[in-house]
Symmetry: C2
Subunit: 431 residues, 2 copies
């Protein structure tokens, strides 16, 4: 047994203990985490300086350096985030079904933590704080592996968080840190002990995880998001939204990669959009029809399957909202797709038929985010349809169990007809 | 592209259309299915006679023959089941979150079908009717593959169900049948088009499915269920429950395989239990301590990892409810486990710390069943913690999507501070 497997095995046995800790205790742990982060900020900043110096030496781009940084501003953000998570209602022990099956035989379905979660995330020190806070609040044990570019910062943050959590009486094995790349591979084989993996990072990385483990994986590989500009779109409204969806943060999974335009509105809309895109430095790749309307590069079939994560957008004309829907369902990654239209029927068709975690009318795909949905924080965005979908906050970290309380009932008595079920739903209460 | 892949691809494109069919139309389809089954019962029975004759020729055991049979009694059961499913509320389009993010920017989380589901089930003609009814009610497209021993019956049932569903206006591709064993393997590779697989059958079969596909799998391989007889158990109450859990239907996944007994109660309890088990023909395999108390075969480590599915039970003594919990969490299959106790503290500890889909106090593990939970029917029992857990009825066949309605909002305005989110939850309503 390697180190990670031993850790995961201990966690699996301890996870019901963490799950059974009262909500006040988990909140107390979070509040100690917040206080400890503030009290020990100089230690964190010093470690972060080392990471930044190493990154600068190895020639990391300035935009990326900003993400690696952990300063007073980031500290204020994460402590505000912890306060928000503390203020959210306890997701553990919620009763979603209470039913008397027969006299003296009562069934409850009660929310409980998933158990042991492995989270592998990019080099962003604030992510370490957010993810561990969400796991503690939801009563889940977590093995955390952050990007190696912020290794020193992660180590200090983890020590502070873990110590604070344990000081509040949470089990020693509530959180663990994985440090080396080899430990990711070790984690992937722990399917007996780890209930869920949440990988965040590049497509290639997420696909690697999905292809090399039997543990359920929550997340997304591709983010091929679409905006469809309908015949009944308001052009004044559509242009800033399309521009925002493409340029506001091109590296994000919820940035738009393909624009579909209704044939009837294309001659009026596309030249104006092309001008707006030119100002932002966006390269347009269009089908032949699009090339007839605006100057652009040619788009081929492959473009419509590509997540550019760059200032490039593919553009195609369609005949109807239905054709747009078919294109999106076939080429998209079921992440987030938007329609620009003032026609309620077109909107209804689109919102109902597009098979994605998020479907939007008249706003930017960039809203697909746990913070913007009011979840406080997110552990990731899921394009899976099994369990959590879309931005995943506390609720997505829960499962449930059925509790049945009897007085000696046997199935034999019901099979023989001696007793009958009466199935009476009860007012929901604590189980 | 093979036949199954072509079918799955068409289904994937048609699945949003089925999902958007109103609940009344899906109920109308179910009511036509029921009527058609009754009207064409002679055709079904004739096909079933062929299957039974073939099974008898090949020397199938009488107990199994009973499961293959489809007669007036089974027909009455499945049509009553369809009526119950019709009477259940529509699971599609339920709003579980309605939140104004900002003025004119409103988010809904709305339940929707999972999409395309592949169900592979044992040779029981009634399962064909139950599963297709649950899929139609929940708006899911389904590829159905039943056990080959009832191939003729399945073909007729499928034709009748499919014809009735399409006659009510549901899409042609709402249901499809897979017929040959090769088609199961074809189905396993359709991860682009199939959203979920539900395999039912032997451990080996379910494991084969889990190991050979990238499609999420819902179900269970093992059913290693435990009963723990606590120090504070009522012996009169415990004996019939333990016997029921073992013998009422030994081949079921929710039958008990291991009995844990508190050391303090073992001398009084085990001899009486051994007598009751002797009458039922149950073989006891006990640890050395158990052998000192009652005559039995020796149990080794492997026994505690074995799903006997036969009149055999392994027995072990423990010192406390905590030790029982640790044994169950380590050796069990997280399916259903019960405690017999009159002590509310012991019960609370057990119900809270056992990490299984079902945890029971003072009743038989055999209650773990969709019908007995009042779900009408079940597509299977899940030991997974991601998505549905325990017996899976309509709710387990749903996922959700986020719908966001705006008026031209861009994320840039919120990032720059020009606008702020105000997150106001709305009374829940149709989205």
């Amino acid at each position: 047994m390697n180190h990670i497997e031993e850790t995961a095995r201990r966690m699996k046995l301890e996870s019901p203990v963490l799950a059974a800790c009262p909500g006040e205790q988990r909140n107390e742990a979070l509040s100690r985490v917040r206080d400890a982060l503030i009290a020990q900020k100089d230690r964190i900043f010093a470690a972060n300086q080392k990471d930044l110096a190493r990154a600068e030496e190895s020639g990391v781009a300035p935009a990326i350096l900003g993400r690696l940084k952990f300063d007073d501003h980031k500290l204020a953000d994460v402590t505000a985030g912890i306060d928000q998570i503390i203020s959210l209602p306890d997701p553990v022990g919620k009763i979603s079904l209470a039913r008397e099956l027969d006299q003296g035989l009562t069934l409850y379905r009660e929310s409980c933590p998933i158990g042991v979660i492995g989270v592998i995330f990019e080099a962003r020190p604030d992510a370490m704080v957010q993810i561990s806070s969400l796991c503690l609040k939801s009563g889940n044990c977590a093995i955390l592996k952050g990007g190696s570019e912020t290794r020193a910062t992660n180590q200090v943050l983890f020590q502070i968080i873990h110590e604070a959590a344990v000081s509040a009486g949470l089990p020693e094995d509530c959180l663990a840190q994985a440090d080396s790349h080899q430990e990711i591979d070790d984690l992937l084989t722990c399917d007996r002990y780890v209930d869920l993996l949440i990988p965040r990072g590049s497509n290639a990385f997420v696909r690697y995880i999905m292809d090399h483990t039997k543990i359920p994986v929550m997340g997304h590989a591709d983010g091929i998001c679409h905006i469809y500009v309908d015949r009944a779109a308001d052009i004044e409204r559509a242009i800033p939204v399309v521009v925002d969806a493409k340029v506001q943060y091109t590296a994000a999974c919820n940035a738009a990669e393909t624009l579909l335009v209704h044939r009837d509105i294309a001659p009026a809309f596309l030249p104006r959009l092309a001008e707006a895109f030119r100002e932002e430095g966006v390269t347009i790749r269009g089908t032949r029809e699009v090339q007839d309307l605006i100057p652009c590069e040619p788009a081929d079939e492959e473009d419509f399957r590509t997540e550019y994560l760059a200032l490039i957008i593919s553009v195609k004309l369609v005949d109807s909202v239905e054709e747009a829907v078919r294109h999106i369902n076939l080429y998209g990654s079921h992440h987030t797709d938007a329609i620009m239209t003032e026609d309620p029927n077109a909107a209804r068709t689109f919102m109902s038929l597009v098979d994605s975690a998020g479907v939007y009318q008249n706003c930017s795909t960039r809203f697909a985010d746990g913070f913007r949905y009011g979840f406080g924080a997110e552990v990731g965005i899921s394009t899976g349809k099994i369990h959590a979908r879309g931005p995943v906050g506390l609720e997505g970290l829960m499962t449930y169990k059925y509790k049945l309380f009897g007085q000696g009932q046997t199935v034999g008595d019901y099979a023989s007809g001696k007793r009958q079920f009466h199935f009476r739903d009860l007012p929901e209460q604590e189980g």
